[in-house]
Structures are given as structure tokens and as C-alpha cells.
Symmetry: D2
Subunit: 345 residues, 4 copies
């Protein structure tokens, strides 16, 4: 059995990692850490887990983590991982970091968006953990930067089309909508149910930190400059993300060509599901799962391609993809521990 640790286990992404890993047939969850809840049983923080996860939250200690685990998931706010991941990697541990700290090989982009990077060297060997696109590199990686939730929802529909030149690389628009768990578990007026209920709103309009992450990967994949305006919105729900992307199709491209391109690219990939013609993806259809559902409509009269994706921001957008990365790194079937049957409602 692989021993796995979750550093930052009491945030939503961390707790979701605990859920998945506690049910993973090839893994023993050996350590969960939490600054805020050190010394508290995990199941006191999440009583749903009573009788299922018996670990007590520990304060993070590099030595302890290295001793306890073969694979370490760091689910911390950005800036914290860069300080601890180098030691873990140096000790030979496989690390999957869910923050932004190791998503950028071009550290300059990171620094222009976040803050100075303290582990620049390590960035050179990190792999971007978008499993359906970088599976081979992930399989060889020691350190994976797990993609952001918004980038996952934008990149999966766009990458095959940009690679094939089916859509123009400029003038792209991604209008994304996320449930509130994406904002984390910290107490905040913006997560207060009375402020969120019956509220739908854009935020960080064309100014979200995930925008450069998307563009960097899209440019790498397209092999040329890409320009994408990104506007996230907050949906009055807990989990789920739906993104609608608008693109100019290349001359002569019709809806079938787009659909064929996506179907070919994702053939055999268990977690990407192409919705039938005329059916749109729905965040509820992927809730609690690692699926990314993709829909396609071509507004032929106006020559506008509408791509739609739906993921669970905490699963395919965070913890699920992280475990999928672990599976790839360990040579396990990609779906191991991620194959529970979705809830109908």
C-alpha cells in the first residue's frame, strides 16, 4: 500500500483529498495536517467522517511528513508550498501541489501574478498536472503542479481545437461560473449564505489570477500567442463549475468537425465525456465526480463556436485530478479510487 499524506487537510480541497484517499484501494492515508486544527480528530472537524477517518490532525513538520508518506499532497494557499515542497522532493517524496506555486515553468509569469518565487529551480522540473494532456510527463514526474479549477474547465475543451487550428487563438472569451466552495472554507462575508443566496455576480473581471495560467498553457499547446478574456462568476451553490467559451471557428469548420476533434483527442480517456449534440453540460451531472463534461454548439449564422464544460471544482478541479495525477505517477489505472458511481440527485 502507498502511504499518502495530505498537508492542509481541513480546507475543502484537502478534505476532499481525505475523502478520496480514505477510499482509495491502493493507498493508506497516513497523515493529515492542519495548522488550525492541530490535535483535533479529523472527524471532529468533519463529523461526516466519524467512524471512517480516525486520524488526528497534526501540525505540519517536514520530517514527519517525509517519514509518514510516500506521496504528499500539499493543499495550502499559494506561497506556503514553495517553502516546504523543496525539502519533500529532496527527500525523494512524490509531491502533488494543489496551489499555484508549481504550475508555471516560466517563473516570471508566476511572479508577475503572485509574488517572488523562493524555489525557482524546482519550477524547472515541475509538470503541469492536466492529466488528459500531460499524462506522459506526469508519469515520470516527481513534482506535479495541479491545475487550477478554472484552467481545467477552460483548457480541456480548447486545447484539442487550438492544436488542430480549428479555432482562432485570439478574441477568445471564457465566461466561467463557480460554486462557493472554490473560495475556500475560511469564514468570510462573501461566503455567508445570506450574501450568496439569490446572488449571481461576476468578480475579478478580466483580472483573475487563473487567466495567465490558462494563456500560458494554451500558448504552449497552440504554439502561438493566445488571447483569452476570462470572467469568473459566483453561483449560489456549494460545488460545481460550468464554463462557456466563445471562439471564432476557422473557415469551413462546422460543429461536426469540432465534435470529431474532441472525440478523437479524448478517446479512451475515462474522465472526459462529450455530451451528445443538442445537450449541454450541467454542473450537477458531474457533482462529486472527476468527470469533465463537454458540450458543443456552433452558432453558424453568427460564426461563433460555443464550447461548454462542467466539472466539480473540488474534484476534477482540485482533489480528484490530484489523485488522478498520483495514479499516473504510480502507474495505477487512472480511475483507481475515483470510480464511484455518481449520485443521480
Amino acid at each position: 500500500m502507498i502511504r499518502a499524506a495530505v498537508v492542509g487537510a481541513t480546507g475543502y480541497a484537502g478534505a476532499e483529498l481525505v475523502r478520496i484517499l480514505a477510499g482509495h484501494p491502493a493507498v493508506t492515508l497516513s497523515l493529515v495536517t492542519s495548522r488550525q486544527y492541530a490535535g483535533v480528530p479529523f472527524s471532529d472537524v468533519f463529523p461526516a467522517m466519524s467512524g471512517r477517518v480516525d486520524l488526528v490532525c497534526q501540525a505540519f513538520d517536514p520530517r514527519g511528513a517525509i517519514d509518514a508518506a510516500d506521496v504528499i499532497f500539499t493543499a495550502l494557499p499559494h506561497k506556503l508550498p514553495m517553502a516546504i515542497v523543496p525539502d519533500l522532493v529532496a527527500a525523494g517524496r512524490r509531491v502533488i501541489d494543489l496551489s499555484a506555486d508549481f504550475r508555471f515553468r516560466d517563473v516570471d509569469i508566476y511572479e508577475s501574478v503572485y509574488q517572488p518565487h523562493q524555489a525557482r529551480d524546482l519550477c524547472r522540473q515541475t509538470v503541469y498536472g492536466l492529466c488528459e494532456v500531460y499524462a506522459d510527463a506526469i508519469a515520470r514526474a516527481t513534482l506535479v503542479g495541479n491545475p487550477g479549477c478554472y484552467p481545467t474547465s477552460v483548457l480541456l475543451p480548447l486545447i484539442p481545437l487550438l492544436r488542430q487550428g480549428l479555432v482562432a487563438p485570439d478574441g477568445l472569451v471564457a465566461d466561467a461560473k463557480s460554486g462557493v466552495s472554490g473560495a475556500g472554507r475560511g469564514a468570510s462575508l462573501t461566503s455567508h449564505i445570506c450574501e450568496v443566496a439569490e446572488s449571481f455576480k461576476p468578480y475579478k473581471v478580466a483580472a483573475h489570477r487563473h487567466n495567465p495560467e490558462m494563456e500560458a498553457i494554451l500558448e504552449e499547446q497552440a504554439g502561438r500567442p493566445v488571447s483569452l478574456t476570462f470572467v469568473p462568476h459566483l453561483v449560489p451553490m456549494s460545488r460545481g463549475m460550468q464554463t462557456t467559451i466563445y471562439a471564432r471557428p476557422a473557415d469551413g469548420v462546422d460543429e461536426a468537425a469540432v465534435r470529431d476533434c474532441l472525440a478523437a483527442f479524448y478517446a479512451g480517456r475515462p474522465f472526459v465525456r462529450l455530451r451528445p449534440a443538442g445537450r449541454a453540460p450541467d454542473s450537477r451531472h458531474v457533482r462529486g465526480t472527476n468527470y469533465c463534461d463537454i458540450g458543443v454548439v456552433l452558432d453558424a449564422r453568427r460564426r461563433c463556436l460555443v464550447l461548454m464544460s462542467a466539472i466539480d471544482n473540488l474534484v476534477k478541479g482540485a482533489a480528484g485530478q490530484a489523485v488522478q495525477n498520483m495514479n499516473l505517477m504510480l502507474g495505477l489505472p487512472e480511475t483507481t479510487g475515483l470510480d464511484q458511481v455518481p449520485y443521480p440527485v
Copy 2:
């Protein structure tokens, strides 16, 4: 006191009309009709109204409506109004129709989207009831076609900019999100809370009937062809609509120019509120009110103008604008009966 009737009073838009008219200081609500609830006290259908609205729902009868009311609001599914409105207008009643039946002067567009029109002549004298744009014509009108909720949310931010040539008329995208009340009060699986909760999804992608309505008015206002891709989405909430519009700004146009244009156009108009720079509109801020809040962000690096609007789909998107139209038609201050202080939460 003006006597007002609501035909189709037990749908959501109709009931909202009842709410507003029952509190309107210049109006006596004299008749409410309902096919489904004929003979039932209105307050049995909406117990919130107990002690406030004492009318019993009547089956619709043209003679009865003409006798009972000076102003008649028809809040029926499209196709029904075209059969009854001609008689009401012929009898000298002022009519505000909330369906699509009298929104199009070009009946061909109507017929291409809906069905054959049975009152084509009347369409020539109808006025499109977008109050902030057609106030003068509304003041002289006998018959007003009340705008759809989606068109209201799209037209108010775009019209001033298209009139001034600040944005390109093609390649427009409107990504709209609506609460479920927009789908009406009929029992339906698509309104079932278990299907709606934790669900965010697009529907009628680039195929919604409001799309031609928007383009027709935009072209009339812009004086040239306009192309707009429209994608509505369903939000897990009861009321409210937020639309995000993407447009290419003309050369040299910056965010301030856009903001100035909108501020000038809506100066003195009580129901359009321009949000300060850096603040986005939120459906919750306008809930239960007749406001349309508008926000502006220019993604300067990518030359993409982001316009955002928020309305309550049942108020500014339906019943509130209908009463605003009545006020204009009767020479009353535009805000009469529509000026209650918004709820903070």
C-alpha cells in the same frame, strides 16, 4: 384612481403585477383573471397576500375586462394575447402585453420565431416598452409590447454604446444567467428543486427566442446590422438575472469613455444605476426592485469590453417595467408604485 386589470394573474409575472398594483397609489386593482384558478380567492393561491388582496380570480372575459379596467395587463403565454388584445384596444383600453406577441413591428421576425400572427395590423401601432429608450413613444401608446427579461438585460447596456459607435456591432456575445422563476410557475421537472439545486447549466444555446428580439432592437438603434450570440443559463435561485456582454471597443475607446456614454444616456433615469469602477452588479442588489444595475470593465490588454447588467427578471424584466410603462402612458412619475426601498438581504 385608475382601474387596472391583470389577465393571467397567477403566473409569476402576473402575481408580481398584482403585488405592485395593489400597492400603487394611483391604481385600484379591479380585476384579476386566471384560467386555472377561476373562482378561487387570489390569496388562496398566494397566501402571502392574505388580508392584502381580496379579489377572487375570474375567468377571462373580454367584456368583463373592458368594463372593469382602464388599463389592462396581459400576462399570458405568447399566442394567447394576439387573440384578445385587439378587442381590448378597440374598446379604448390601454394594454400592456407581457408576452412576445406585440414586441415586433416587423411581424415577419415574430412569425419566423413564434407562429403566424393573427393581429398583424395591430403590430404596426405597438410600441416596444423599453422605458429608458422609448419613453416618448410609450407616453403616446395605446398598446405596449413589454420587453422580454433577457432583452432588457442586454439592451440597456448595449444601446447607448452602439448608438455612439463605441463598440463594434458584430461579434457581440451575451452570456446571460437567470433564476428559475423565468421559466414560469407551471409544475415541471426543470423547476424541481432537486434538479435545480447545485445545478448550473446553459440551455437553448444560441437558439433562444429572445435572440432575434434583441437583434431587431439593436439594429434599429444602431442603424446597421448587428450580430449577437446569445447563451442563456439557469441559476439555482428563484429570481434575478445577470448578463455579461463581450464586445470589441472601437479604436481609442477606453473604459472611461464607455462609462461616460452610459452615464450621459441614463442621466436622470431613476431605474438605471451605473456601478462604480471596479464594482460588478449582483442580482441580489436589485432583487425585488425595478433597477437595472450596470457595470463596465475594459480588458485593455485583450481589447475586450465587458459589460455587466443585473435585473430582477420578474420586475424590471417583466411586471415592474410593465407598471413603469403604465406610468409613462398615464403621465405619472415613472417611479410611482415602484419606489419601495430594496431589502438589504
Copy 3:
């Protein structure tokens, strides 16, 4: 025009006071205070109010409040009002306090539940502001202790029956359910939508501070000891409170007798609505209003009387009743400023 001040205007009860007072035809809202938002326009804190409430939040200062207002509403956490209300009252201002500080004439009960009282003398002249029960005393009062939301929902159905001896005074059970706004606007994990959604739970079981408040008033009204077990629950919604009360009817008492007793007691009281036989109250029917809806069912076979009430915790349970108290104190019609037509949805 009466000048009114709201001290603590940016909590939910305070903001609801602002809403009601800003629309009150006999009132000028002259001052709003907020410790957290001093110097910030009220409409920046609650953008719904943009264009409607132009006041800037002030830090509280007794002199300023006394100069600015004839009537002062204190909407602060308990313990704070006892320090400031004495000065306001001494200066001749009418004060309606929404905290627990002035709800108890028997200060010992207060101190056993809350903390030592610093204005014991003032407690002797305070009046408990349950408008339908203490209207005469309220009309003569300078200082009113506005009832808690839970007590309001429990007392209104029970008092008439206990006064008439129709139910036994012991073995009473009140199972109450509240929306989350009752917990206030402070950021807290317990108000986080992800923790609240799909969550229904009891809290402070038989240990809530409103329990002694209920029993004190019930005993005063019944003229003998009363024993009531009170269990509050949290409902995944913003506003609203529904309480179900279980009582043993006196021998020979049937449902009609209970209904008659309540109808007689509340005859002519505009804000209490008795639901027809077979219809239960619903928090949604009173949302945003000052109504208390009451329903009655006698489980005859098991000799258990079921009383049900519904209020909006922020209106009849807080700000609305406070304004109703002001109206009574000023000799205005009880419904002034509180008579807007309820929303149908």
C-alpha cells in the same frame, strides 16, 4: 417628521431597520452608525440601497445621536446597549433596543443568562415590546425592549391560550426553525453556504438564551409557573422562522375553541393572521413582512395541540416589530411604514 437613528445599522437587523425607516412616511432617517464601517457610505455596504439611502455610517457618539434623533433604535449585540441607553433615555430620547438588555424587568433572570447588568434601575421602567400583548404600556413607554425572534414566534400563539387556561402550562415543547440571518452578519463558518446548504440541524438544544425570556413572559401572562422545552434548529435559508409548539389541551377543549380564542385575542390586530383550518403557516408567506401567521391542529386522538407560527425573523422578529413599537409609542397607526404588499415569490 420624526427623526430616527439606527445604532448598529450594518448588521442584518440594523440594515432592515434602515430599509423600513427609509420608506416610513412619518420618519426622516437622520443617522446610521456602524463601528466597522464608520466613514463608509451605507450604500457601499449594501449596494442594493444605492440611490435610496445616502447616509454615511458614523461612529456612535451619544451626543451626536441625541442631537440627531427623536427616536433611537439600538441594534447591537447584548451588553453594549446597557452602556449607552441610559444616556439616551436621560436626554429624553425614545429608545427601542433590539438586544436582550432591556427585555427583563426581573434583572436576576437576565443576569443568570447573560452577564451582570449595568443599568438595573432602567430595567424597572422598560416595557417588553411584544406589540399585540403590551400595546398600552408600549404607548406610554420611553424605553422598549424589543422581543427576541424566537420568543415572538412562541409567545404570540401561546399567550391567549394560557391566559384562558385552554392549555396546560407545563410540558410545553417549542420546536423552532430559523433561517441563518438570525445568526447575524459576522463572517463565521456556521454561516458559510457550503456548511449550511443541505444541512438541517438542532443547536443549543434546551440551552438557548431565549428560553428564559419566553418562560418569564409566559408566566407573567399565565399567572402561574410555566415549563417549556425549547429546541432551535437552523434551516438552509436566509430569512424566516417557523415554530411548532406542542401542548396538552385542557379537558374538553377542541380545535374550534382554540381557534376562537386566538381569533378573539387578535381581532383587529393587523399583523397576526390566523390560517384557515387545515392550512399550515409557511415562512415564505411572511417573508419580508411584519406578519405572524398562526395555524392550529388538534391531534384529538392523542390529545396533543399543535400550534404553528411563522414570522420573518428580521421583520416581526426584529426590525419590523421595532418600528411597530415606535408607531405605538408615537401614536401613529400601527402599520405605518410596514404595509408594503408581500412578494408572491
Copy 4:
């Protein structure tokens, strides 16, 4: 592998059965039937299941069901199962019926609440499928009447205490709260999100059909008459049920005695979790799981025992308990297929 069929697979309980059985390691889901969706792929009705459940819904046919399955779950409205179950049982199939039709050995009670029974003989050999109480009989049964959701939530906390005489058998009150999925998947105004949101309300007050079911089992377990007033309420959420029970403790009984009694009774039973002192159960903690969480508070001053339970109405209240029954009938570990790790949020 056991072959299992779900008759009535497209209601919420049926679909939940599909979810659990599709992931059950000892089962092959061989047949799903649906009157409404016959001929439609199950995953078209529930797109969440795309790629996971490939069956096409069939119209029900007794011969087909008998041929296809070893175990048959009937998830139909009451009255329908009594017409089809006799044939299935006669053919040697094990049947777990989720309706009320086979919950009563005393058919007179059934007939007084529902309608005439057409399979009275079969009722004599049915077993009430409350797994923690009737495990031995279930293990030997051919036909199990799966308990109602409300009865499950009421019976599990009360039975041990009544058996031991720790609470009085009369004057019991159960105040229960359910998510809307309990009302089924049929389109209905009462499930419309706009009618449900911000709505909390009692319904069928002291008149719900589950009340006699509870009393019948309680009397069987207590060995004497039991009187329980039952009031269900509707919560604005999809899933989940929380019930608060009020009982008079026997003389000398304290909270510890109650807690010990429950702990002893449920020792070794994997799906009943006793909450620690001072912690209440929460519907969210058991969401999507087969757990029943139980909390205890004694209001010592008023001698009122407060018992609280939480279940997922679709799992322990329906499909989960049905599969738990199947496991018991087949000699499988009780938790087989029911042991997924709960979601933290």
C-alpha cells in the same frame, strides 16, 4: 454475482438504488424498469450516469423480471407493488419493496391508512426491514417491507429506550424535517424551487400516513400501547431528514443512562452513530450515506428528553436500507456496497 433488478428505477429512490447497485461488488444490475421512460437509456434520464450505467429502461413485465434477476427491488408508489410482488415471490425471487404495501403484518392498519390490500396472505410472511432491529428475521426473509424514511428516523432512537422502559410510551412527539426529494420526482408545484426556496413549513400535521407505521412498530417493540404525535415539515433542500423527538424520561433516568442504552443497543452496528454529548446530528453529516446519526440531550429542569436523529431520506430512509436488507438476506456483510467515504461538504 447476484443479479438485481430495480422496478421503478427513474424515481429518486429507484435511481439511488441504481447508483448503489451499480457500484455493489457482489451484484450485477441486470434490469431497470420505468413506465415513463421505457425504451430510454437510463443515462439519458440521469446524465450523471453516462458511461457508468448502460442499461435501457424497460417496461415492467413479471416474467422478464423473474428471468433477469435473483433479487428484485420494487420502488413504486404504494398500491402498485401488491399487484406484482406475489408473482415475484411465488417464482422464488427475493423481493425488497420500498412502498408501504408490505410494511404491516396487521393488514387492518394498512387498510385504514391506504386502501384495500390485494395480497393479504403475503403480508403474514413479510418482514419489516428495519435492519438494526429485525436483522435475524430479515436474514431469513423472502419478502421485506422496507421502512418509510420518517419511521426510520423515529424508530431507531426510540426503540431501545422503549424496550428498556427508559421513556414513557405516551405523550411522545416527533417533529420531523425532510428535504424535498422525499416528495418524489414528479413535477409538482410543491417541488418548484420558487415555492420551496426560503420556505419552511409543516404539512400533513398529525395526519401523515407514516404515523400509524411508527406506532405499530413501537407498540410491537414496547409491548404496550404507544402514543406519538408526528408532524413532518418540508426543508428547502434536496436530501436529508432530521427528526427531533420529545419524550418523558422515566423517574431517575438521566442523560447518561439514555446514552448508555443506545450505545449498548447499537454496539457493532455500523450504520448507527451516536453523537458525543453536546453535539447534535446534522442532515449534512449523513448526506449520501447510509448512516443514522443520533444525539441526546436531557432537559433536566423540565424533565424532557430530546432525541435527535439524522438520515439521508434516500439512503438509510430508502435505497440504502433496501440494499442493507439485501445484504442481510444474502448473508453478505451489512456494509457491502454501502461503505463509500462520506463527502466533507
